[in-house]
């Protein structure tokens, strides 16, 4: 799973969000390291909808413009949980090997 996909699913994990909300949330989750642009976001959202990992929650008109809210599906939650466990296990293994004595990694 690509990092952008992982972060988008993470942004939607605790509730539905619209496109701009996802961009802001991804920036926050990644500590400002990942700044999603609209083209990247909508390519990923389109793919995730096709794969059934997210779905449209509702639509609103704000200042005459369409605002569509997305939510994660149960399949999406499962995929995110699996990927998070995999990343966690890899990170734990790396940190353990870098620091076998239990001291601080420098």
């Amino acid at each position: 799973m690509q990092e952008a996909t992982f972060l988008i699913l993470t942004a939607l994990a605790d509730g539905s969000q619209h496109g701009y909300g996802i961009i802001s949330d991804v920036g926050e989750i990644s500590g400002g390291r990942v700044r999603l642009r609209a083209g990247t976001l909508y390519t990923a959202l389109d793919r995730l909808r096709i794969d059934g990992l997210i779905e449209v929650d509702r639509e609103e008109a704000v200042d005459g413009r369409l605002r569509r809210y997305y939510r994660i599906t149960p399949d999406g939650s499962r995929r995110l949980a699996t990927e998070a466990s995999r990343l966690h296990a890899n990170a734990t293994a790396a940190l353990t090997r870098l620091n076998p004595a239990g001291g601080a990694v420098t």
């Binding site: 496109g19 609209a38 083209g39 909508y42 639509e59």
Partner: protein, 215 residues
């Protein structure tokens, strides 16, 4: 230039770039992505930035290069399982051919009266295996193309495999043709997994798309 004129100019710039996207995506999402682009723009921004342009063009190229109507993961997995089932059918045919003599000798030695029934079953299985292979491959292609009838045929095939497995168990085929019975069981499990995938929500959404929400 007024703020409104700046925004109108910026919007025209975004719309020119969004014109590169496939028509189906623009119908569904142009206004939405435009709203996000304008929300993300800096105050007083009049032109589309270079990085933004590159990102939108990259997104448009990716969407255009994506195979049209690429089926969801569930259907792709189902198609792979169906190809595996075709391979199992081939395995069945090979197993029947290889074990035929030993099965025949075994039955004739211990229960010759039962041989005609078992022989008929083996001949039916041997004839059905190539048909089964062709059917599995045909169905795999059909489900990937989103054909709804392929799901019904797959359901019927599962019922047929279930009936065949029950009949084989009732005929004590396990005593004479254990490998064939195991292959039948594997096919039944594969067919069950295929059914779960092709009737899953993502697959149903792809095969029977819902109308877009009203705006």
């Amino acid at each position: 230039m007024s703020e409104q004129a700046d925004q109108a100019r910026l919007e025209r710039g975004y719309r020119r770039l969004l014109a590169c996207y496939p028509a189906s995506f623009r119908r569904d999402s142009e206004e939405e992505i435009l709203a996000v682009l304008l929300d993300s723009a800096q105050a007083g921004q009049r032109r589309v930035g270079l990085a933004e342009s590159a990102d939108l063009i990259r997104g448009a190229v990716r969407m255009r290069l994506r195979p049209p109507g690429r089926p969801p993961r569930a259907l792709r997995s189902a198609a792979r399982l169906m190809c595996l089932a075709a391979a199992v059918e081939l395995g069945c045919l090979i197993t029947i051919a290889v074990t035929f003599s030993s099965v025949r000798l075994d039955i004739l030695r211990h229960d010759p009266a039962h041989w005609p029934a078992v022989a008929a079953q083996i001949i039916i299985d041997a004839a059905a295996a190539p048909l089964g292979m062709a059917l599995w491959l045909f169905l795999a292609r059909a489900v990937c193309r989103g054909q709804d009838w392929a799901r019904l045929v797959s359901g019927a095939l599962f019922c047929l495999l279930s009936a065949k497995l029950i009949a084989a168990l009732a005929d004590h085929a396990g005593a004479y043709a254990r490998a064939d019975l195991v292959a039948g069981g594997v096919l039944w499990v594969l067919a069950l997994a295929v059914l779960a995938l092709i009737f899953s929500r993502p697959a149903t959404r792809y095969i029977q798309p819902q109308p877009q929400l009203s705006r």
